[in-house]
């Protein structure tokens, strides 16, 4: 039986086990919406702005580990996705975005609501497609999902002209994906792993620097195994929060510009850094030529381009972190560098994470209190700014995927729609959105989405009447 392009997409979504999608209809995407209307197995959440849709899909992906899906129409609908795609790209979040497009015979004529969204999103997607023939459609959708979730995850956009949505062909979902230009390395090189084991054995002052890659490869329990066996202290990036329980005595909290002083001192003094799923971002390293000068570096990452991009690495291991840590844990020997752990305790005593707690209600105190009263199974979603850093520092994260935040792009307005997406993905969990008055107002229209769809998310707004982070910088540097 022949299906229309729109029907084929919906069939593909079912094959990919998509349960929830976020979007807004418009002229060039109406045939797809017409099919979605009668599809009961997929829940569509109508957001109030396309940026809300893409952030919600992103929050859904981060909370569940599955691919998030969003839909927008052509032109302004598509361009409203841009910030959200860039946000997902920088944080390596798997998304598939569908955009409507003017009919193929009008492409290139500056037609009504026509925009070259493929060209626009070229540098902010892992890959993107324009469907020019309905016979390619099923393969393209399958490839998009495969590319989004494998290797280093990322967003993929499919631009879907209106006439292709209506064109008909036989539907056949390909049995497997075949892409000769895309074969991400999954399994770590054993020789390199053994070299890493040797370095870890010899190290007197080792430290683990864990990032978002640990979360996206679901390697938290392997990381815990490694730490419990070797007693190596752990510091994480913003994206890595929750990969190791911050309540544990070997946790040094967050590293970098906004991190704890003792984590930064520990990295400066370390003789071995085990970097897991991180990219040596400028917010972590500061001046590159002064970063961790005494340390050898083992860098484990799925993306070969991250190795040696910012910093020279002694032992690179390319592959899936979970897979590599499983192997590494088999070879690794028990150890405990007592002297080093004492040094770190000294740092902790000398440069503690503290704030002045007087009569006033302090933001740090609020975060500590939320942390105390929040039950297990709570997801904290933040916006961007001072409140984000207070939450990152003073809330104690113990589980992966319990902290959701815009890391690389620093997108104000991300938090609330992402929280709605997280709640849609994990209805059994408590979702708390911690925002600021500046950030929250950037996507506050999504209150209507939450109310209409009964998405129960708690919002805590740190209202200081300022763009606090901007003000802080102005007071410090201007």
């Amino acid at each position: 039986m022949k299906l229309t392009g729109a029907q084929i997409v919906v069939e593909c979504l079912k094959k990919e086990d998509v349960k929830v999608i976020f979007g807004i209809p418009g002229g060039a995407i109406m045939p797809l919406y017409d099919v979605l209307y009668s599809e009961t197995s997929i829940k569509h959440i109508l957001t109030r702005h396309e940026q809300g849709a893409v952030h919600a899909a992103d929050g859904y992906a981060r909370a569940t580990g599955k691919v998030g899906v969003c839909i927008a129409t052509s032109g302004p609908g598509a361009t409203n996705l841009v910030t959200g795609l860039a946000n997902a790209h920088l944080d390596s979040i798997p998304l598939v975005a569908f955009t409507g497009q003017v009919p193929t015979n009008l492409i290139g004529t500056d037609a009504f609501q026509e925009v070259d969204i493929n060209g626009i999103t070229l540098p902010i997607t892992k890959n993107n497609y324009v469907v020019r023939d309905v016979r390619d459609l099923a393969r393209i959708v399958q490839e998009a999902f495969y590319i989004a979730r494998t290797g280093r995850p990322g967003p993929v956009l499919i631009d879907f002209p209106k006439d292709i949505q209506l064109a008909q062909t036989e539907f056949k979902y390909p049995e497997s994906v075949s892409l000769n230009g895309y074969k991400p390395t999954f399994s770590g090189n054993v020789k390199q792993i053994k070299a890493a084991v040797q370095e870890i054995k010899n190290a007197k002052r080792p430290i683990i620097y864990a990032g978002g890659g640990v979360i996206s490869s679901n390697a938290s329990s392997e990381l815990r195994d490694l730490v419990f066996k070797t007693n190596i202290p752990v510091t994480t990036t913003l994206m890595g929060l929750g990969s190791f329980p911050e309540t544990h005595s070997l946790s040094l909290g967050m590293l970098g510009m906004h991190g704890t002083a003792y984590a930064n001192y520990a990295v400066s003094a370390a003789d071995l850094i085990i970097a897991l799923g991180v990219r040596f971002d400028d917010r972590i390293t500061g001046k590159l030529d002064e970063f961790a000068l005494k340390a050898k570096i083992i860098h484990i990452d799925i993306d070969p381009a991250e190795v040696g991009k910012n910093i020279l690495v002694d032992i690179p291991i390319i592959g899936d972190i979970k897979n590599i840590l499983e192997k590494l844990n088999k070879y690794i020997l028990k150890k405990k560098e007592t002297e080093w752990l004492n040094t770190i305790e000294d740092y902790r005593r000398k440069y503690p994470l503290k704030y002045i707690n007087n009569e006033e209600l302090k933001p740090q105190y609020i975060m500590e209190t939320i942390s105390k009263i929040a039950r297990d199974n709570t997801i904290i979603v933040t916006d961007v700014g001072q409140h984000q850093m207070w939450a990152a520092l003073f809330y104690q994260f113990t589980e992966p995927r319990s902290f959701i935040s815009s890391g690389g792009l620093g997108t104000m307005g991300y938090g609330f729609p992402a929280a709605l997406g997280a709640k849609m993905g994990c209805p059994e969990k408590t979702v708390i959105c911690i925002s600021g008055d500046g950030s929250f107002q950037m996507n506050q229209q999504e209150i209507a989405t939450a109310v209409y769809n009964n998405i129960a998310v708690t919002v805590i707004i740190m209202n200081n009447g300022y763009l606090g982070m901007v003000r802080q910088w102005q007071e410090l540097f201007f």
């Binding site: 070229l122 324009v130 590319i147 892409l179 230009g181 993306d303 070969p304 381009a305 040696g308």
Partner: protein
Amino acid sequence: MRHTIAVLVKDHPGVLARVASLFTRRGFNIESLAVGHTEETGISRMTIVVKGDQRVLEQITKQLNKLIDVIRVKDISPQNSVERELALIKVNTNSLPARSEIIQTVDIFRANIIDVNSQIMTIETTGTEDKINALIELLRPFGLKEVTRTGKIALSRGSITTSGLKK
């Protein structure tokens, strides 16, 4: 330092834009770029000349490899490869002595005259970049009307291929 890299890509619309955009975004400079079909249908080959040290070259290679439409990337070192460029040169020939001198130069360079009238000659030449530069410099005094060059293409010497596949 200059490097020549061969990039095998899927022959899709938009692949060139993808590669070019990557170079711009990451701040790599393209000195020359040539694209054409290969022995295999659906696969094109780009020959890109770039400037940069070993670290830059490594990043370029890795970033190119990340593009889904890129099948293979290979650094082709000049010692182990043959490289050629083609140029078309339109030159003024309004005096008789000039005409014969140009013809002699063309002979020395084993170039070809492919179009001629009383005012101009169009010369076709193939060779290394240096050879073409030399010919252009010798022709310049006669008055160059127009020059177009293809950019460099290159193949590894011997039985090594970029695709690495035995055929």
